[in-house]
Amino acid sequence: MKRHILIIDDEEDIRSLLQATFERQDYRVTAVANKQEALKVARADAPALIISDLQLADEDGLVVLAELKQVLPLVPSILLTGMLFTPKAIETIEKTVSAYLPKTTRVAKIIQVARTLLGAGEPVAP
């Protein structure tokens, strides 16, 4: 059975790219644009991994991931962002998320991190 990945990004192009990327890797992908949709999907069809952009249109991605963590405490998550953080900030971020990746990271690296996290975490029913 295909593993389920939830992608959250307010930019349509990035959502499509990430969805195509992970579907090519034989994952089942649900891509949403905001927190409400993400929570709805998380409750209805628990993903095995959550990937979110930091800067969402209506919300901070870190906050969204924190809320999703309350629903799915064992599901790993990846935060993607175009902003540069200091090491201290990254340390803080990584307390909430499983991995932090700049948006300039190569796709192959994103897939590798996702695979590693999927090997460690299993989807948990809400």
Partner: protein, 416 residues
Amino acid sequence: MSMADIPPAVPNTAPPAPADEGRTFRWILTGFALSCLVVLVMVFVATGNLRQAEAANDSVNHTQSLLLDANELLTQLYAADTTMRAFITTGAGRERSACRAALNEFSDRLAGVQSLTRQDDALQAGMTAIARLAGQRVEFIRQVLLREDAEGRAQAARQLEAEGDWGVLHQIKEKIEVLKLTASEELGRRDRQNYRQAQTTRWTVWTGLSLNFMLLAGMAVLLRQDLAARRARAASLQQENSRLEQAVELRTRDLRRANEQLQDDLLEQAWASQALEHQLSYNQLIINSVREAVFVVTRVLHITRANPTVQHLTDRPLEDIINRPLEQIIQLPGEGPGHAINAQLLRAINDGQDLRHQPATLISRTGQAFAVIVSLFPLRDSGKVVGAVIIIDDPLLYQHHHANDHLPPPPPTLIK
């Protein structure tokens, strides 16, 4: 797996070329034709021999009849002669009748024997002589009988006694014996000829059969070789087909893999492109958020980026600012006569040093000049200066900051 893993092509050894197949077919056809010819020759020769055998058989039957009839001929002649003598001696009418019957029988036999000898000259000549002598004897018998009728038995007896001996009959007997001997010799010759024909037929049949057998054996060998070659070619084709199928499969797999790689590369490229675009947009956002006029320039002072404040101060659209030499918008006076404009800025970039709060002139789109204060901060990438950020200080800040430093206030004409 790659193309190098494809098995090598099968060497074309056993399978004959189509030309060889045609030659084999021609050889088989020729063999079949020869076989038919041999059978025809056999039939022709055998039929001829049968015909000759039938003719020889007829001749043998003929000769046998001749021998029998010749014996009978002599018997009838003796019977006619004997009954004639008995009649003359006894006067018995039945003897006379018997004599006449024997004479008639003799005549019939003679005609038959003559017809039997018509085919053979030697026999015919012998038979002619016999017929002549027999005719004499028959005539004599008839004359004796006629004399008995006319003059009585005594006269007839005297004529009979006058005849004396049996000479003519002996001659006829000898001639008939010679005829029988000749016929027997002919019979022997025919037998020998029949034997030779039978032998010839046997030889013909056996030779034909042997020849046919050899031809059939030859054709069988050719067919066997042809079948073997066809099997070998079929096997070779099968092997070649398998090899090609394998090659196609490998090639298809390679292409599929290349296609997947290409798809991955395209995704990677699209992702990198959006990341770059995002980064550029983000960088632009950063300078856009600064209240001061900000230029980003290359090492040779060409403008690569500017914020909305620059557009506002110069009254130029962004596309009219980007790629323009900085000196067309910002000019720092030369340090002395003959010194180039903006030489200070270039030197600061080359030295990698900040240059702060330098008085300069801002040229607007309409050519108006405004006195401004500029600062330059070199841009470093891995320690190497790749350009610089030039900022036109906020006049309000400048005024506030430098009020206590007894520096000249910013020009009032800075804000239009």
